[in-house]
């Protein structure tokens, strides 16, 4: 039985973002939860499901659901924590959809808080298990996305200037978002002049590192209609993962993303032409180009030319990351992509509102290139 249209995001909440000295992952999560409750017009007692993502600075790790639940004074019918990096937000929303459809809870809060910026987190882990790639200097988040960019450049002729177009679009959108961390507009030349981090990726190809908290409340579409804000109906969801890296011939291309997107489109009975605005997970600029190809907005290998000419900027054919994304709004590991998707379909984005944004695609990717998901949100 399809879950298309059966649930909706009824409330979203985000704290201030950026460098938040003195704050903790726990209190940022709690603040975001309160903000989302207020947004939805719900009371704490209405929430009977709690799904969480431990921040990089959450000492509880996989027991985060217990500590956050205790801090909020909640005894949920359903609870869990998930650690899937930038894929966590989308995957938790999908768990919420399933839990509600199965009748295990009626109203599920998904919560994240982190102080990665003030905590000095550098995202310097290496992939690999018993034989860790760090042994060969293959360390940090930029490494695997660097492979993706380098291979894409060699196979399809994609250029660093095309990667720059993604950074420029995100920054332009962030300049129109008073809550964004990086708001000064940049040019392709600024990107080209920024220092190399891991060739071929420059500083302005990389996402930020941020403090902040985000909460997303999911409930049945029926119930959402009676709440404070117009519901963002979850029309389609999909996720796909690969656990294989070196043994996966085209691992760097993240081909499983195609499956996640195809499943979401099929469930929603929609296609790329129906999408008016997209929030595409952007840990690095190359990721947006891959999503555009995998979603079918352009053909394989044509993501570079696609992002040229302002096509993914507001006013272009497909505005992407309209709040600024991980690259410029704040690095909430994709949680704010869901928030912006909700706000776009509600029509509450002010000067950065996309006209007639009845359908928004939101994607997430985490654990380097391994985990991916897609979600289609629609105005009720």
């Amino acid at each position: 039985m399809s879950v298309s249209g059966r649930t909706a995001i009824a409330g979203v909440g985000a704290t201030a973002q950026g460098t938040l000295s003195g704050r903790t992952a726990l209190d940022l999560g709690a603040e975001a939860f309160k903000r989302a409750l207020a947004d939805a017009g719900l009371r704490k007692q209405d929430v009977d499901g709690l799904l969480t993502m431990p921040g990089t600075t959450s000492p509880e790790g996989s027991l985060h659901y217990l500590r956050l639940g205790e801090a909020l004074g909640i005894n949920p019918r359903y609870t869990a924590s998930l650690t899937m990096g930038g894929a966590t937000a989308g995957c938790l929303v999908q768990i919420a959809v399933m839990v509600i459809a199965a009748g295990l809870a009626t109203t599920v809060a998904c919560v994240f808080g982190d102080t990665a910026k003030t905590g000095g987190v550098t995202f310097n882990r290496a992939s690999g298990g018993d034989v860790n790639w760090g042994l060969w200097g293959m360390l940090g988040a930029a490494a695997n996305s660097g492979i993706a960019a380098d291979r894409h450049m060699h196979e399809y002729g994609t250029t660093s200037r095309q990667l720059a177009e993604v950074a420029v679009a995100c920054r332009k959108h962030a300049s129109m978002n008073e809550h964004a961390v990086m708001r000064t507009p940049i040019t392709v030349a600024d990107h080209q002049a920024s220092r190399m981090i891991v060739r071929p990726l420059r500083l302005l190809d990389c996402c930020l590192i941020s403090d902040g908290g985000v909460c997303i409340i999911v409930t049945s579409a029926e119930r959402a209609r009676d709440l404070a804000k117009p519901p963002a109906v979850i029309a389609g969801v999909g996720q796909a993962h690969t656990t294989m890296n070196l043994e996966h011939e085209k691992w760097w291309y993240v081909p499983h993303q195609k499956q996640a997107l195809a499943d979401a489109f099929r469930m929603a009975k929609l296609g790329p032409k129906d999408v008016k605005v997209a929030q595409l997970y952007d840990n690095f600029t190359i990721s947006v180009i891959l999503w555009l190809e995998h979603a079918g907005f352009c053909k394989e290998g044509e993501g570079g030319p696609f992002v040229e000419g302002g096509r993914i900027q507001l006013g272009g054919a497909l505005p992407v990351n309209t709040a600024g994304g991980n690259l410029s709004e704040s690095y909430m590991e994709g949680w704010l992509h869901v928030v912006e998707g909700v706000r776009q379909v509600r029509g509450e984005c002010g000067q950065r509102q996309v006209e007639d944004a009845h359908t928004c695609l939101v994607t997430g990717r985490g654990m380097s290139l391994n985990c991916s998901n897609a979600m289609l949100l629609q105005r009720a």
Binding site: D130, G134, L139, M196, L246
Partner: protein
């Protein structure tokens, strides 16, 4: 006999044959006794057929560069002194792929794009009980 110049591997029973072979100047990987698949990373069962039986077969140590990164930032204390340094994804002739830093002490290839170039394994710590396979460019 020279000691390993960069971080030393964490060795366990599963991975020990890989590092010990490198100490003897050999690149060896697990070949499934049931289906013949050569796997890397090292694992307890064949990723193709799940058979546990495997032979550590010697590979030629030759391959081609699939991707070439240059790290201008050091993400660990051990690698900070080495920046900028190259990391390559190697397609080995026998099928498996692996990452390696490039053995390039004079930083000759930092500005070069090595994709498609032939590389050959080199053993860091050769003659010791264990060594680390790394790769260097095969000069034309």
């Amino acid at each position: 006999m020279t000691p390993i110049t960069k971080p030393a591997p964490e060795v366990n029973d599963l991975t020990r044959p890989f590092w010990q072979a490198a100490g003897r100047g050999q690149l060896r990987m697990q070949k499934c006794a049931a289906c013949g698949h050569i796997r890397f990373p090292i694992g307890p069962v064949c990723t193709n057929c799940l058979d546990e039986r495997a032979e550590w077969v010697q590979l030629s140590g030759q391959g081609r560069v699939l991707s070439h990164l240059v790290f201008h930032r050091g993400y660990s204390a051990a690698w900070k002194p080495h920046v900028p340094y190259s990391v390559i994804m190697v397609q080995l002739d026998e099928g498996p792929r692996m990452f390696s830093d490039l053995v390039d002490p004079d930083r000759k290839y930092i500005e070069t794009d090595l994709v498609g170039h032939c590389v050959q394994v080199w053993f860091d710590g050769l003659g010791q009980d264990m060594a680390v396979p790394r790769f260097k460019v095969v000069e034309p």
